[in-house]
Symmetry: C6
Subunit: 199 residues, 6 copies
Amino acid sequence: LERDKYEGNDVAGVVTGLAWTQVGGDILYIESILSEGKGNLSITGNLGKVMKESATIALEYIKAHAEDFNLNPDIFSKYNVHIHVPEGATPKDGPSAGITMLTSLVSLFTQKKVKKNLAMTGEITLRGKVLPVGGIKEKILAAKRAHIKEIVLCEDNRRDIEEIKEDYLKGLTFHYVTDMKEVIAIAVTNQKVKNPKAL
Amino acid sequence: LERDKYEGNDVAGVVTGLAWTQVGGDILYIESILSEGKGNLSITGNLGKVMKESATIALEYIKAHAEDFNLNPDIFSKYNVHIHVPEGATPKDGPSAGITMLTSLVSLFTQKKVKKNLAMTGEITLRGKVLPVGGIKEKILAAKRAHIKEIVLCEDNRRDIEEIKEDYLKGLTFHYVTDMKEVIAIAVTNQKVKNPKAL
Amino acid sequence: LERDKYEGNDVAGVVTGLAWTQVGGDILYIESILSEGKGNLSITGNLGKVMKESATIALEYIKAHAEDFNLNPDIFSKYNVHIHVPEGATPKDGPSAGITMLTSLVSLFTQKKVKKNLAMTGEITLRGKVLPVGGIKEKILAAKRAHIKEIVLCEDNRRDIEEIKEDYLKGLTFHYVTDMKEVIAIAVTNQKVKNPKAL
Amino acid sequence: LERDKYEGNDVAGVVTGLAWTQVGGDILYIESILSEGKGNLSITGNLGKVMKESATIALEYIKAHAEDFNLNPDIFSKYNVHIHVPEGATPKDGPSAGITMLTSLVSLFTQKKVKKNLAMTGEITLRGKVLPVGGIKEKILAAKRAHIKEIVLCEDNRRDIEEIKEDYLKGLTFHYVTDMKEVIAIAVTNQKVKNPKAL
Amino acid sequence: LERDKYEGNDVAGVVTGLAWTQVGGDILYIESILSEGKGNLSITGNLGKVMKESATIALEYIKAHAEDFNLNPDIFSKYNVHIHVPEGATPKDGPSAGITMLTSLVSLFTQKKVKKNLAMTGEITLRGKVLPVGGIKEKILAAKRAHIKEIVLCEDNRRDIEEIKEDYLKGLTFHYVTDMKEVIAIAVTNQKVKNPKAL
Amino acid sequence: LERDKYEGNDVAGVVTGLAWTQVGGDILYIESILSEGKGNLSITGNLGKVMKESATIALEYIKAHAEDFNLNPDIFSKYNVHIHVPEGATPKDGPSAGITMLTSLVSLFTQKKVKKNLAMTGEITLRGKVLPVGGIKEKILAAKRAHIKEIVLCEDNRRDIEEIKEDYLKGLTFHYVTDMKEVIAIAVTNQKVKNPKAL
Ligand SMILES: [Ca+2]
Ligand SMILES: [Ca+2]
Ligand SMILES: [Ca+2]
Ligand SMILES: [Ca+2]
Ligand SMILES: [Ca+2]
Ligand SMILES: [Ca+2]
Ligand SMILES: [Ca+2]
Ligand SMILES: [Ca+2]
Ligand SMILES: [Ca+2]
Ligand SMILES: [Ca+2]
Ligand SMILES: [Ca+2]
Ligand SMILES: [Ca+2]
């Protein structure tokens, strides 16, 4: 449990996701980093094919909507992006980290802080939709154990929350979204991170 | 079912296909996006080899017939194309999304709206023919559940429709085609999408 | 059966082959297309390693004998070639489509029509020989069902034809060859296709 | 046992790690070397995917924090880095060599000596955190057998040490860390190695 | 059997080898071809890893000993080499086609005829040695069936020939070699092929 | 046995190693060759991953210590290196050919003769250490059968020799080493090979 305790938001690109594993729900961090390069994307963390695809989709979406995020399109070809999902001993797969990866990359490219005590889970699509995912009950329990206060979910997962006993939901605020821009509006603050990188 | 509800056609490149899975027929979206690049094609969505080949064939066909679609051939080397098929948790394969991918790419390169309430299924070939596919009955039922009004099929699939009880077909209009240009004539409107990209 | 009905020869690069599958003989089309590029060869159609090798051999042979086909050797580095074998749901392999692929590429690079109502099957080699293949009886039956009139085979497959009842062979003309140039002489006409591409 | 006896620290990039194998804990060396090149990273030693990812993460982290280590960022594109983990007959995997690889690379790029009689084990993350790892008891016993005096562990592994009988810990000093910069502060001395390479 | 009948030697690069398959000995042809390029080597014929390695070794040896074969070293970077072993339906592997591949490439680069009615089998090494191979008895019987008159073998295979009944060897001349240059001296004539390519 | 008989040392890069296979100890040759190129390393001989890694480590070590071997560092980017281990029918793996590969490459780059009647076995590391390997008894017997006179082993393998009956060791001289430079001092003579290549 210690290893899941909530980290501050001083570093760009660190976002809390919710995962569903063989042993129940769990907290999962997405980290991302920029280094000078030519626009390559590398992905680590013992991830399967579908989870790697989510990272590609997130980056492609941001590139195609650079102006919506006030990003200079030139930065995409001047930096390499590396996305990592810690705890390499655990194999991870599936599309549910999509919105977490999207949020990580927007924080990274804008060098803005991610909201504290917030976690999320949801699939992303190229056209900007958020899709529902499974394992909601287990993920919510894991979020509570980790002292998460707010959770971003797909609107279509609202029914899954409504099936959970109210007691379990105390202290949690839910944000139901259908569009990827809503996720960013909720999750990425307007405050720059400590020592922001000048891009 | 929620996740299959029909989306508007404001975004270029989003087209509704019909798929046949282990659990019956289903609606499936093809999405595509352009980003500045050198003409690379990337494909995501947990797709098998044959479905990826369909994307390649669709793009090659459009390149070889650029003038027929009023496209400037230079755009193919100035943009990367990314095609995605949502719901990454489901493995997908087979050639039947061919005409859906073709329609997605023509909408993308022309920035024109796809016709609303329309779905399609059919294999494509390099010479421009549409070939019949399987699972027609299950696909039609899925289309009805998703409130689709018009369906594009290969002429050789007409017999499969004739074997379905008339009741099931109420409210559906069928377009039987043999050539890929007929698909585009039916499916891609002359109206530009909202905020069309200037290519 | 509909899907196998014979197509016209207005398009360059479309050639009818004979295949032998688990469920008997079948008609198979080879299609090829040129797009501006740097001489890359791509191959689709759910093909195995050996069938892909046939495509490579066919292209290499044509490159090495460009003058024999009145081809300007520069075109090989100015265009990409894509070869496709339709019906992606069926895995295909083996060397027997070799002469069909060769014919497809010669028609493509010369933009000349392939002879109508003609089918073929035979392995090719780098030095220009045609080698015999298996499944001749099943392939001949499939050719008849598809209303083929002439068939190109390796000289060493003559004995396989002689073992077939004469009744089955009615209406079929056989061309037995040993050299790849004989195939081209029989199969590629001197007539340009409709709207030939200026190479 | 001979093969594990402690080596001097005259060579940059040689660091002692602690591994947990099927036959118990073991000492493991990380070695790294620079050669003129273009910034490629190669990794040998019969390593699995996750252990190779650790090497990538370590290098990316150092690149992104070059200034913290007083490194000229230009060196990353002028040299190739090769990381090796000896005893190629033994397959190795897992994230626990992360801090050992990080230390190896910092020693390599700064050409500074690693502290003698020191071993370490811990996962690294892109944002600079050290994560706990398993097999602590077995690793400690192996460290003692190899006459290690100081050990670097994640703060979250402190509890694992507290569960070990005090007798086994005699003569060992533990450094508990949460941040990757702490590891470097403990493990890399300010003394240049013998014949330092001029970078 | 027809398919194994001996071919003339008018084409450069065509050499007869002896193979040992699950169904006994067999004749096997090696073909090679040059096309304008940058020195790439491609290999087809349904070959396994070891047989492909033989092709690499043969080409490397010729490059390193260009002067011994009166070859201008510049040609290696101006042409691509393609080696093919016909009968793609049969998987082939093992090192025994090494001297056959070497002979094919020397004939190709010198555009000289290979000796008629000659077959060979033997492994090659980078330093120019010929090593013995297995299946000698079966290979000899296949050679006789194909009307081969002379056979090149490794000196260390002499004992295998001595164990074969004299009757089987009638009409065959054996050349036992230890060095790869001996193979070339025996197998490649001083006569140019028909229409030699000007390299 | 014939195939293992000792070869002269006129050719650079040919070194005798000792291998341990399923059927006992055996002699194994390492060969290497230079061709004009850009510094690529290729490796053949039906080798597994770990044995290929040894080749990489040997080359990296030599590059990083070019001055110690009086080598002009420019040669590494002007030549391609090919390492081959003959007898392609036998799969080979493991790290024990490391010192043999190192010796082969030093002989190759210096064009100096390797000492006659000498064999060796030992793992190498990036920092220049020689590590012990297994199968010593079987390897020694194979060396005797092949009339080897001197053997280079890791110091940590001395105990393995001491456990062998003295009778078996008659006529053999052992060199125990801990550092890779000792191997080169023993194995590579100061005499140039016949017709040395001017690098
Ligand atoms: Ca966890
Ligand atoms: Ca998630
Ligand atoms: Ca669905
Ligand atoms: Ca479809
Ligand atoms: Ca068919
Ligand atoms: Ca065919
Ligand atoms: Ca050990
Ligand atoms: Ca470690
Ligand atoms: Ca044969
Ligand atoms: Ca052979
Ligand atoms: Ca041997
Ligand atoms: Ca060895």
